[in-house]
């Protein structure tokens, strides 16, 4: 009996290209490019008359101060950073019938219609000795409060998450309804 030669069949390599493309696409989708991210803020233009104080009613201001030991004070009372978001949130929510809450103003906004906006301003003051880490933590908490309110407005008026909105007009409308009003004082020493 003559035995047949045993041959190992050659591996079919024609699908290799497909596999590599699959991998390529997988990596394309999953790798996040090292994009820079951060908290956006707009600086106010320089003050022309430093002596001229802008009068703002007391009920319209939320005073946030950070001293050089990174301790926080909100409206004259010591406050923990964990409570800052809720306090800010409470402050910026429009409450037309509350005497102590900031004033509200009815504005007409495209795509939303008449909307009650809050005239409250968060005044942020920090000492020269405050650490940058603490400052960012505070900015982050403030941003969180504003974003939460924006999310709420986006959900009620557009049935969409604020972060998922792609239509620029809608984003602008929500931004107008909930403006980020954070005023940073001119630098000075805080005890």
């Amino acid at each position: 009996m003559a035995r047949k030669k045993k041959k190992v069949p050659e591996i079919n390599a024609s699908s290799m290209a497909d596999i590599s493309f699959l991998l390529l696409i997988f990596f394309l989708v999953t790798t996040t490019m090292d994009t820079d991210s951060g908290i956006f803020r707009r600086l106010p233009p320089p003050v022309e008359n430093p002596d001229m104080d802008v009068k703002v009613k007391e009920r319209n201001i939320l005073n946030v101060m950070i001293n050089k030991y990174d301790k926080l004070m909100v409206n004259g009372k010591p406050c923990d950073i964990a409570d800052l978001k809720d306090k800010t949130r409470d402050f910026i929510t429009p409450k037309p019938n509350d005497e102590k809450a900031p004033e509200v103003e009815v504005k007409e906004i495209d795509m939303i219609g008449n909307f009650m906006t809050n005239k409250g301003v968060v005044s942020l003051k920090n000492d020269r000795g405050t650490s940058y880490q603490m400052y960012i933590a505070v900015q982050n908490e403030l941003a969180k409060a504003f974003n939460e309110l924006r999310e709420e407005v986006a959900m009620t008026y557009f049935k969409q998450h604020y972060n998922d909105m792609t239509d620029k007009d809608k984003v602008d409308a929500v931004n107008k309804a909930v403006p980020v009003r954070i005023s940073e004082a001119e630098p000075e020493e805080i005890k």
């Binding site: 490019m33 820079d36 707009r42």
Partner: protein, 152 residues
């Protein structure tokens, strides 16, 4: 008596190299996508503070960077936080010319959209940061971004 079988029956077939180009291309694409070119060498230590409410910087070409942190070479420059613009240490007074230069490098229509990204080490005191912000206000670079890393 057992004999060693001779002949080419046990030859291992050659591995096909036909897909080699594909693999190489894949690697090339992969590295092309993931590498972010760094234009400046950092001379200051950079540990960004963490934040959750971050936004992405959109137009990379319209961003200029200011780095603040303690020098990397502490033996030579000490531990006091320093400012870095482009490739060298700078003083507060250098910010205005720097911003002007950055504006000149952009197309005229884009100059107003220029964002300054502040990359600041988390242990830096706010005094220095405030000074930098005051300078930026003076020269009209109002759009800023506090660069952070994502997370709690």
């Amino acid at each position: 008596m057992a004999k060693f079988r001779k002949g080419g029956s046990k030859e291992v077939p050659a591995i096909s190299t036909g897909s080699m180009p594909d693999i190489i291309f894949m690697l090339i694409f992969f590295f092309m996508v993931t590498t972010s070119m760094r234009e400046t060498t950092l001379k200051v230590k950079m540990k960004l503070p963490a934040a959750t409410e971050v936004q992405k910087l959109e137009k990379k070409s319209l961003v200029s960077f200011i780095y603040i942190g303690p020098p990397t070479n502490t033996k030579l420059y000490g531990t006091e936080p320093r400012l870095q613009l482009n490739d060298s240490y700078a003083r507060i007074d250098d910010i205005i010319p720097f911003v002007e230069q950055e504006r000149m490098d952009r197309a005229e229509a884009d100059r107003q959209k220029l964002t300054t990204s502040l990359k600041i080490h988390e242990e830096v005191r706010m005094g220095l940061v405030t000074d930098v912000k005051q300078e930026l206000r003076k020269c009209g670079a109002f759009r800023i971004s506090y660069s952070t890393r994502k997370g709690e």
